[in-house]
Every structure is written in structure tokens, then in C-alpha cells.
Amino acid sequence: MMGYAVSEEQVNLLNDALEVLLQESEAQALFISDYGGNIITNVATDEDDSRETVAALAAGSFSATRELAGMIGENSFHSVFHKGDHSAIYIQCIAGEFIILAILGKGTTQGLAKLYIDKACRQIEPILMETSGQSLETASGGEAEKFEFNSDAVFKTES
């Protein structure tokens, strides 16, 4: 089963839209990932391990709510909101198979975040629609390179 690929240009366009959204919504961090938990891009987050875990957990959480939606006769919930004492997480479905996740501070309300995310999604959605099922050859502009194995052992242990 073939996967999909996203080009550097598409990531740059998504980043531009996320940077504007970050300023308008006053979010602390923004992610775009697919339903499988793969991060397409993210802004204002540290380049550390926790990004991958956040994306995996968010994708899992959103998928679980979709199942819940099915139990009450809905196709899907379009968004979910988790609120804590100091921060909140807002997750919204976009382009059918992706999610946008915003980590919000104390001062940002759900309504305000939704307003700005809806606006940004109008710009982001066509880009994500383009990447959906996009082959590596298309993403590379027809200049895809051949892949080669680097070594026999994929992982080596410390011992």
C-alpha cells in the first residue's frame, strides 16, 4: 500500500498560514498531523521528542471521539476541546483526513480559537487536499530520487 508525500513548498505554505494563525489566536503551539499521528508541520513547539507523542495522542484521541460519534449516529465530531486549569487543547478535523491541533493558554477562549482556526482552515484545506494521497514523485516535481539502504542493522543497541 503506497503512502503519501508532502513537498517542501507545501510545508512552507502551511507554515505561513500557521504563523498568521499563531499570532491572531495567541495559541502557544500549533500542529497539523494526519489521522495516523504523522506530523505534517508544526509551529512554536520545541524540536524535541514530545511533539511526536502529542501528535500520536491527539490522533488517537480524535479517532476515539469519531467512534463515539458513530455510536450516537453522527459521522464524526468536527472538533474536540480539552480544558485544564492553565491550558487547553483544541483539535479540529480538516480536509477529511487531517487534524489541526492548537495548544491554548489561559487567556484564549474556545470560541475565539475556533473563529481563527476556521478562518485559517479555508487557506490550509486546499493545500492538504493536494497532499492527500500525493505520490512522492509528484511531491518531488517529477525528480524523485532512488532510495538506498544504508546498513544491514536498522537499529543497534548500546550494549
Binding site: S7, V11, T157
Partner: protein, 213 residues
């Protein structure tokens, strides 16, 4: 379903450890997290019940430079073994690139092995997928226990396919066979990715090649 991010030169793969309750899926990931070098592993996350049984999934991200010029990122997931959590097992299988079926070698657990293996195939069918199109490795775990079935028997029960899966014997709690299982499934996943991709790469036309004198 592999995902290539050309901006970061990353290739993402998803590996799922499947199997009956208490067969050692989480133990596999715990051991890998323990022995992998810091620059290879990410944070391990376990979504467990109060009794330390997997509720949703365990997650361990690993990275490798096994494909030249790219970072290969492997997201390792386990599924909950208990049958009441079948819906979450299905969710975890979304977009899977490679599978490890962790079987419990004890005679008493043979029925659970078979049930879980059939359940895996049913759940894959809901995504119109099958073990024929997904790189797949069998792991016969708990080989240190006294009341275990011979490997030949486990192979007969769980490996009735034209294209037989590779299997490994393991004792996941002390790490025996764990690393070998991971390396094999990751190699198979990458081999499938490279084969599918390279088949689509057009050879450089002779007239566009740069002559070097």
C-alpha cells in the same frame, strides 16, 4: 501508510505489535526503550488501566538512518489485548506499515493466540487490507517458561500461509529475540517502501545525462 516529508527529509512508518492479552507486547516496547541509545529513541507513552493493562495503546518513537539521506522514523504501537477493547485495536491499525504478532508460547494460551490472530485479520479487512500486503513478523514469546508448545506447533497453528511469515523465539522480559524481531519488521517495511517507490522512478534519459570526460 508511509508518509514522506520532503521538507524535513523524513520518512515515517508505523509498526503495530498485536497479540493476545499478556503475551508481552508492552514488554517488547519497554525493553526496546531501555536498550536503545538516547539519540535513537523518543519518549515512551503507556495508556494503561490501574492494573497496568494496556487501555488504548503504548507508543514508542524510534529513528534510524537506514535509508540514505533521510531520517526514517518508526512509530511503534501496541494494541490492548483484551477483547473488550477491540474498537481501539482497530483505530491503532489505521495506516499500519508493519506488524508483529506476539504469541504466548504456553499451551494454555493457544486458544487466545488463535482468537487474537483471527481478530487481527478481521480488523485488517475493515480497512480492505490483509496480511498478504503488509510486512509481518511472528514472535513466539515466553520461551523460558516450562509449559510451552514446540515452535513447530506454533508455526503450524499461526503460520498457515502460502508466503510464510518469518518468526522469532523470544523471552521479551530479558530482551531475547526482541531486537531481532524489530530489525526484521523494520527492514521488511523499508524494503517494501523502497521497492514500491523505486519502481516508479523514471530512469534518467540518456540525452539529459551530463557527460563527464
Amino acid at each position: 501508510m508511509s508518509f514522506v516529508n520532503l521538507s524535513k527529509r523524513e520518512i515515517n512508518f508505523k509498526i503495530v505489535f498485536y497479540g493476545p492479552p499478556l503475551s508481552g507486547k508492552t514488554t517488547n516496547l519497554e525493553h526496546l526503550h531501555e536498550v536503545m541509545p538516547e539519540d535513537v529513541k523518543g519518549k515512551m507513552t503507556m495508556l494503561s488501566t490501574q492494573q497496568d493493562r494496556t487501555l488504548y495503546f503504548d507508543f514508542l518513537p524510534l529513528r534510524s538512518d537506514a535509508i540514505k539521506g533521510y531520517t526514517s522514523k518508526f512509530q511503534l504501537y501496541t494494541v490492548p489485548g483484551q477483547s473488550i477493547y477491540n474498537q481501539t485495536r482497530k483505530i491503532v491499525l489505521t495506516g499500519v506499515d508493519g506488524l508483529v504478532f506476539v504469541a504466548d508460547s504456553q499451551w494454555d494460551e493457544m486458544e487466545h493466540n488463535v482468537e487474537s490472530f483471527e481478530n487481527l485479520q478481521e480488523n485488517l479487512q475493515t480497512y480492505n487490507r490483509s496480511l498478504d500486503d503488509i510486512p509481518f513478523v511472528l514472535q513466539f514469546n515466553k520461551r523460558d517458561l516450562p509449559n510451552i508448545a514446540p515452535v513447530e506447533y506454533l508455526d503450524f497453528v499461526l503460520n498457515q500461509r502460502d508466503d510464510k511469515a518469518v518468526f522469532f523465539e523470544s523471552v521479551a522480559c530479558n530482551g531475547d529475540g526482541v531486537h531481532e524481531t524489530l530489525n526484521m519488521v523494520c527492514k521488511m517495511v523499508m524494503a517494501q517502501f523502497i521497492e514500491e517507490h523505486n519502481m516508479n522512478v523514471k530512469p534518467i534519459a540518456e540525452d539529459s545525462a551530463v557527460a563527464v570526460s
